[in-house]
C-alpha cells in the first residue's frame, strides 16, 4: 500500500461552536427556528414563576407581626413568614423547656465534633471513630436529652462516652500535630516503643481504665433535670428518629443480608421471613403495630415510651429494605473474590469484612443514600401516630390561635428544610462515589 500521509497531521484548535459562549448558545438553544421558539417560551415561563415566587415570598411578604390579622393588614398578596418565625423554637425543638434547649444544641455540637475527624485526612483510625460514635454517642445524647436519674448502666455508658470522646479528640490533636495515632504517641512518650506488643497493650489498657474511673467519678456529680419525651418534637425529634434509623439500618441490613445468604437453613429462613414480612407492609402499619403491639410483648412493668417504639419500628423496617440493597451489592461481587480471599487463608468473616463487603458497599453508596433520604422523609409519618415531629409542628401552627389557618407558609418552610437536608445527603453521596472510584482506577 502507498504511503498516504508521511508527515504527522498537526493538531488544530476546536471549532468555535465548541468553545465560545455564543457558539454554545447557538448549538444548544437556537439551532433551529422551532428550538429558538421553545427557548423563548421556556424563558418566559421561568421568568413568570420566579418573579411570582419572589413577589409573594420576599417583596410582599411580612416578616414581623403579632398575628395573622397584622400580616393581612400589611399586605394581602404576600407570604406571612411572621407565623413561622414566631414558631421557630417549636419547629426546631418541639415543646422542650426553653431554658433547657442548650442541651439539644450541646448534643448536636458534640456529635459534630465527634464525627468531624472522619473528614480530616491526616487523622488515623477513622473506622474506630465511626464505631465509637455509634456505640457511645447515643447513650450520652440520650442522657443529655432526657435527663433525670441515671441507672448504673447509663452511668457506665456515659463515662464510656466521655472517655471515647476524649480519646477521639486527643487522637485528632496527635494526628494533626505529630501525624501519628494517639496510641503510638502515648507509647512513644512513655518510652515504650521497644517493648513487646503485649506490654504496650497492657499500658494502653491501664491508661484507658484510669481515664474511665476519672470520667465515672466526674459524671456522678452531673445532674440535669428530667424532660419527658412528650415534650420532644420538631426538627429535633425528626433528627433523633432518623439519626438512629440511619445509624442502625445499615449494620442491621448487613446482618440480615448475610443471614439470608447463610448456609445454615434456620438462619436463612428466619432472615428471609423477617425481611419479606417487613417489606410487604407499609411503614405506617408497622408504626401502628409498634405502638399497639410492643406493649403486649413486653414483660410486666417495662413500659417503652412512644419515641422508643417508633424508633424500633423505623429501624426494623429500614434494616429490611437495606438488607435487600446489601444483598444486591453482594451479588455483584464475583465469586472469585471470595475464593481469592480464602486462598490467602481468610475465613468467612475475614473475606466478608476485608474483601467483599468493602467492594460491595462502594457500589451500593447511591442506593444506600437513597434509602437514607427515604428514611428521613418517611419519619414524617410519625406525626400520624401523635408525635410532633417537624411536620407535626408545622401543621400545628395553623391551629394556634394567632395564626389560625396559616397552612401554606409553614409547609413551604418545611419543604425547604427537607430539601436542604436531602440535597446535602445526595450531593455528599455523589462526592463519595467520585472519590472512591477515582481512588482505584486513577
Amino acid at each position: 500500500m502507498a504511503i498516504i500521509n508521511a508527515n504527522q497531521t498537526p493538531a488544530r484548535a476546536a471549532p468555535i461552536s465548541e468553545t465560545s459562549i455564543l457558539g454554545w448558545l447557538h448549538k444548544n438553544l437556537f439551532s433551529s427556528a422551532f428550538n429558538a421558539l421553545l427557548t423563548f417560551f421556556m424563558l418566559y415561563i421561568i421568568y413568570q414563576t420566579v418573579s411570582g415566587v419572589l413577589t409573594w415570598g420576599l417583596f410582599n411578604a411580612t416578616f414581623v407581626a403579632e398575628n395573622r390579622r397584622e400580616c393581612f393588614d400589611n399586605s394581602l398578596t404576600g407570604a406571612c413568614w411572621a407565623g413561622v418565625i414566631d414558631w421557630f423554637d417549636n419547629i426546631f425543638y418541639g415543646r422542650y423547656p426553653r431554658e433547657e434547649i442548650w442541651r439539644i444544641d450541646f448534643g448536636g455540637l458534640l456529635l459534630a465534633l465527634w464525627m468531624a475527624p472522619m473528614w480530616i485526612p491526616r487523622v488515623k483510625g477513622k473506622i474506630l471513630v465511626g464505631v465509637s460514635v455509634v456505640t457511645f454517642y447515643p447513650f450520652l445524647a440520650g442522657y443529655l436529652f432526657s435527663g433525670g436519674d441515671k441507672g448504673i448502666f447509663m452511668q457506665v455508658m456515659v463515662a464510656g462516652a466521655i472517655v471515647a470522646f476524649a480519646i477521639n479528640m486527643a487522637n485528632v490533636v496527635t494526628g494533626l500535630t505529630k501525624n501519628m495515632a494517639l496510641n503510638a504517641f502515648l507509647v512513644q512518650m512513655l518510652g515504650q516503643s521497644k517493648s513487646s506488643g503485649k506490654t504496650r497493650r497492657n499500658i494502653l489498657l491501664l491508661l484507658a481504665t484510669v481515664a474511665f474511673v476519672v470520667a465515672f467519678v466526674w459524671q456522678m456529680g452531673w445532674n440535669v433535670e428530667g424532660v419527658s419525651w412528650t415534650k420532644w418534637g420538631g426538627l429535633f425529634l425528626t433528627m433523633v428518629i432518623s439519626g438512629i434509623g440511619i445509624a442502625s439500618a445499615l449494620p442491621g441490613g448487613i446482618l440480615l443480608a448475610l443471614g439470608r445468604r447463610s448456609k445454615l437453613p434456620i438462619i436463612r429462613v428466619l432472615s428471609t421471613g423477617f425481611i419479606e414480612v417487613f417489606r410487604s407492609v407499609p411503614l405506617i402499619t408497622v408504626l401502628f403495630m409498634a405502638t399497639t403491639m410492643f406493649p403486649l410483648f413486653m414483660p410486666e412493668g417495662v413500659v417503652l415510651n412512644k419515641p422508643v417504639q417508633v424508633i424500633i419500628a423505623v429501624v426494623l423496617f429500614n434494616a429490611c429494605y437495606m438488607a435487600e440493597t446489601v444483598r444486591a451489592g453482594l451479588q455483584a461481587i464475583p465469586k472469585g473474590q471470595a475464593e481469592g480471599a480464602h486462598t490467602i487463608g481468610l475465613g468467612y468473616w475475614g473475606a466478608m469484612g476485608l474483601i467483599i463487603m468493602p467492594q460491595a458497599l462502594k457500589h451500593m453508596i447511591p442506593n444506600i443514600v437513597g434509602s437514607f433520604i427515604g428514611l428521613l422523609k418517611d419519619t414524617t409519618l410519625v406525626s400520624i401516630i401523635g408525635l410532633f415531629d417537624l411536620l407535626g409542628m408545622l401543621t400545628s401552627i395553623s391551629k394556634d390561635v394567632p395564626w389560625l389557618g396559616l397552612h401554606k407558609e409553614p409547609l413551604i418552610f418545611g419543604a425547604i428544610l427537607f430539601f436542604i437536608l436531602c440535597f446535602a445527603m445526595s450531593k455528599y453521596s455523589r462526592h463519595l462515589e467520585v472519590k472512591l472510584s477515582s481512588d482505584h482506577k486513577g
Binding site: 472469585g336 475464593e339 486462598t343 490467602i344 475475614g350 482506577k441 486513577g442
Partner: protein, 258 residues
Amino acid sequence: MNDTQTKGQLASARSSDVMIEIADMNKWYDQFHVLKNINLTVHTGERLVICGPSGSGKSTLIRCINALEEHQEGDIIVDGIRLGKNLKNLDHIRTEVGMVFQNFNLFPHLTILENLTMGPIWVRKKSKADAIETAMMYLERVKIPEQADKYPGQLSGGQQQRVAIARSLCMRPKIMLFDEPTSALDPEMIKEVLDVMVDLADTGMTMIVVTHEMGFAKTIADEAIFMAEGDIVERNNPVAFFDHPEHERTRQFLSQIL
C-alpha cells in the same frame, strides 16, 4: 482406568515425603459425576502438570486440594492433614496451599502492596513492617517492585498474574496450585509469567499446574497427567508424555492443541 497409575510411580527425584495424597476420591455436582475414583500422590518438591480437554475436571481436582470444593467420597490428605468438615483444618490447609487463578482474582479495591500484605497481617498475624518487607521481596522476585502502590486495575494482565503469584507466596505456602495461569493472557505476556513460574520451580516448591504450555511443562515438570471426563487417563514423565502419548485419547487431544 487406573492401569496407568502404575507407570506413574516415579518417585520424585528430590524427596520421597508425600505432600499430597488423594485416594479413591469421588466428587459429584448434584447428579453429575465430575471426578471418578481419583488416586494421586504428589511428593514434596514434585512438579505435576495436568492437561485435558475443557470440562474434564482439572480445575475441580485442584480446587478440591485446597478445599474450595468439597469432595463426597475418598480421602484427600494434604501435608498430613485430612480434608473434611473440620473448619480449623480447612483454614490451616489454605494457609499452606497457595493458588493462582486463570483470572487473577486480585482485590481491586486494594493497592498491590495491600493485596500482598493482607494475608500475612490478618492470617499470619505479622507486623505491618514485616509484612511489607516480605511483600517487597516477592515483588522483586516477580520483577515489578515499582508497581507496589498502584491498583490492580492499572496493571497489565501479565503483571496482575505475577502479583497474584507473589500474593500467594507471601503466605509462604508449602504447595502452589496454578489453574491455567496463562490462558487469559495475550501471547507477549505469557512468557513473563512462565519465567516467574520457572524461577519458582527452581526454588524447590511443590507445584501442581493446569496448563497446556508444552514447552513449559517439559522444562519444569517431573510428571504430567492427562484427564478426560473425570478420569486420570495417563500419567508419565513430561517428555514421554508429550512426545509419545500412549493412550489414544491423549494422542488425539495433544494433536489438537499442538
